[in-house]
């Protein structure tokens, strides 16, 4: 891992020796595979970067409830409805695990929400795409959760203890999400020709946005080297994207669906698929706020937050009143 930083900073030994003693001791702990815990000394930039990363991750879980929540009341069967409800509830839980991990770094929950609502912090670009048909619930579970898992499994080994522990819980729970999505796809792909057409259409629309989830191509990814040295990023974007394609293509073949990429071809020499990169212009456009659903998603979050304000205040007032009564009785 450390070797990755060498390329960007010069010589390995020098990089370590150039650091002030505290920072050097810190980097050495990470290199030894030790976990950094909330009260340990850490460089400001490590703390800042982690708040940004964990915060964005948490926001993605919470905003990620919206495209699927859209279909809970319209699920085709009671069983599918219960499955989807459980999945969306899990996403809320995952957001909460991550918010607590971020809070151990000295940022408050309300500050994190504030940064989401004012656009200072982002969430994954994928959730700015609409979910138009029931087949999209299949595609989201299969592809979006599949890509998320690919990203999260290595993060179980990340250097920051609370983040790593949240990832362990999340990964344990998330495999059901992907399987329920694939199960929907299997049912539709084996259903009527109309259902199969819907499944193919969902794959067509979610394929490239899913590839974008891994972030820009390595050659354009500016923060990677430092994040990898700190072990808050374990693999490069392109590595994970490749892994995702290699795992997903056979799953699409099993469904009898076609991945919407004319250049997709098994490369015997590399032992991996060659594939087309997503449209990066579209990616940057969606990230900067101009995707099909950016405004709607953010408005929904802000509305939930302001609509809930009187409840939060009332519950706090009630708790204070109870505490005072108890004190008076003693």
């Amino acid at each position: 891992m450390y070797a990755q930083m060498v390329k960007s900073t010069g010589k390995n030994v020098q990089a370590l020796e150039d650091m002030p003693p505290e920072e050097r001791a810190f980097q050495e702990r990470i290199d030894r595979g030790e976990k950094i815990e909330p009260k340990d000394w850490m460089p400001d930039a490590y703390r800042k970067n982690l708040i940004r990363q964990i915060g964005q991750h948490a926001h993605s879980e919470i905003v990620g409830q919206l495209p699927e929540g859209n279909w809970i009341t319209r699920a085709p069967t009671l069983e599918r409805k219960a499955n989807l409800l459980a999945k969306v509830q899990d996403e809320a839980g995952h957001g909460l695990y991550l918010y607590c991990a971020a809070e151990t770094l000295g940022v408050s929950r309300d500050e994190l929400f504030e940064m989401l609502h004012t656009g200072k912090m982002k969430y994954s670009s994928i959730f700015n795409y609409p979910t138009l048909t029931w087949a999209d619930m299949g595609a989201v579970g299969w592809l979006v959760d599949g890509a998320a898992i690919m990203n999260q499994v290595p993060l179980q080994r990340t250097s920051y203890g609370p983040y790593a522990r949240a990832m362990v819980r999340i990964c344990k729970e998330e495999s059901f999400h992907q399987r329920q999505g694939y199960h929907i796809m299997m049912t539709m792909a084996n259903g009527s020709s109309e259902q199969k057409r819907m499944a193919q259409d969902a794959l067509n629309r979610f394929w490239y946005p899913s590839l974008m989830m891994f972030g820009p191509s390595d050659k354009d990814s500016v923060h990677s080297a430092q994040s990898m040295a700190w072990k808050i990023k374990m693999n490069t974007n392109d590595e994970l994207r490749q892994k995702f394609v290699d795992e997903t293509v056979p799953q699409a073949e099993y469904l009898g669906l076609t991945v919407p990429d004319e250049n997709l071809k098994w490369n015997e020499e590399r032992g991996a698929y060659d594939f087309s990169e997503p449209d990066w212009e579209e990616f940057y456009n969606v990230v900067s706020g101009n995707g099909p659903c950016n405004v709607e998603r953010l408005e929904a979050r802000k509305k939930a937050w302001s609509d809930g304000e009187w409840v939060r205040e009332a519950m706090l007032a009630h708790a204070e009143k109870k505490a005072m009564r108890k004190e008076a009785a003693e």
Binding site: E37, K39, D40, W41, A86, Q89, D90, G93, L96, Y97, C100, E103, S108, R109, D110, R165, A166, R169, E173, R312, M315, L316, H318, A319, K322, A323
Partner: protein, 96 residues
């Protein structure tokens, strides 16, 4: 914007079905202890992970300082005679 009061932070401990003792699983925000337990049920036991929940307001937890690691734990290091393997017992004696 006026400073809004946040719900306090609670640390959550859960004892699993076959667990020996309560284990820290994470934290959450709640206005009071009763609500914290209910929230903990929803956030941390969605898959039957526990049979008992403790919640403690985070501010009430005192913790050892990481920078004190040396003076705190070093004294136990050189006392290997506290472990059973320190004492050689001949095989003829049997299992002990």
């Amino acid at each position: 914007m006026a400073e809004k009061k946040e719900w306090p932070l609670w640390e959550v401990f859960i004892r699993g079905q076959h667990g020996m003792s309560h284990r820290h699983v994470g934290s959450l925000h709640a206005p009071d202890a009763e609500r914290a337990i209910k929230n903990a049920r929803d956030v941390y036991t969605r898959r039957n992970e526990g049979v008992s929940i403790w919640v403690v307001e985070a501010g009430n937890i005192a913790a050892s300082s990481p920078s004190n690691k040396g003076p705190m734990y070093d004294p136990a290091r050189d006392k290997v005679y506290r472990h059973p393997t320190f004492y050689d017992i001949p095989d003829e004696v049997g299992k002990m």
